[in-house]
Subunit: 228 residues, 2 copies
Amino acid sequence: MLHTLAFDADDTLWHNETHYAETQEAFRALLRPFHDDAWIDARLHDTEMRNLGRYGYGIKGFTLSMIETALQLTEHRLDGAGVQQVLDLGKAMLDKPVEPLPGVADVLQALAGEYRLMLITKGDLFDQETKLARSGLGVHFAAVEIVSEKDEATYAAILQRHGIPAAAFAMVGNSVKSDILPVLALGAQAIHIPYHLTWAHEVVEAPADSPFPVLDSIRDLPALLASW
Amino acid sequence: MLHTLAFDADDTLWHNETHYAETQEAFRALLRPFHDDAWIDARLHDTEMRNLGRYGYGIKGFTLSMIETALQLTEHRLDGAGVQQVLDLGKAMLDKPVEPLPGVADVLQALAGEYRLMLITKGDLFDQETKLARSGLGVHFAAVEIVSEKDEATYAAILQRHGIPAAAFAMVGNSVKSDILPVLALGAQAIHIPYHLTWAHEVVEAPADSPFPVLDSIRDLPALLASW
């Protein structure tokens, strides 16, 4: 019955939030002469949320929000060299190698014979395309959907466009908010593979009785599917 | 035979380059105490081209390139308030109302009865989706493709994905480089409607004997199609 398996990309197929966390630590170090860490984190998060409707998701918007926060937290006393450092932090993120998580390449290869594999990822189009190309994983996917938001309407539109009945579709991802709940709401299956870090914006209250499987690693996915 | 008409968005359906030109004038004004206009323009263009492989197209990357150029041109002497001004220029661009060019809404409405209309636009996914939503023109399009580059391979993939033979497809747009030449190369039709400004990066040598129609306004499009 299930014929299409869709995967999230960031923190499901490759490391991503780790790069944000490392960058945010460097950002804190830059502003530590002015403020304590908790305050810097809180103000950066506020700026990101305030700008989300303008910038959307992705590294370029994050970089612009870091610059804005740094100016705010220093009352515009951050000098040009400091701004340049923030610009460079953003560029370094964009230049980071794409590191597939353990087992990803093997599992995709194995599953591609049995299922139609899709990639459904949210964020900056150019950045996501570039990462997929550099990951070398593109060959396994019959379709790639890069979307600006992963909600019920987005998934419904994708299923309709590809003529996939909900009962034939399962989504695999690390975000309960973006990969699991909207997919379950459509009557499709969803499989949660948590990443050790979750962006504050993606954190949701987990339902008390999780009506979805949770795996430790993508390596456990073929066995789970075989058991269905 | 022709059943699908695809339109470019920026500077074909609504004003765009005008906003860049206005912003660039404000950017020049900020740096005029340090350098002359031609030098500022040339350095900004260099920065944009150097960053294109990292940032792709769109306002967020343009804003980051303006900040980088401003720091460079002032040897990091631009103060925090100056950087904030550049951030604000970028935000003002993102907040600009979407103004359809004259006749666009009527012509799309008229043609939607006879042809399958598509939108094929390059740039930032989130930004382009937002503009389409705000334009109110989305209702006319059966399909929307937001891509990171408009070259022959991109158009070929779109035609294949939608099952459209090249002979049944025509593209309408303002950029000879992105909307016309790659489409003609595939054996499809292309119709050029120039905008009064062209981004330097999009300028190409026009072929001596243009093998494509050039219209003054989208208002002339229905008559041209009727004559085919």
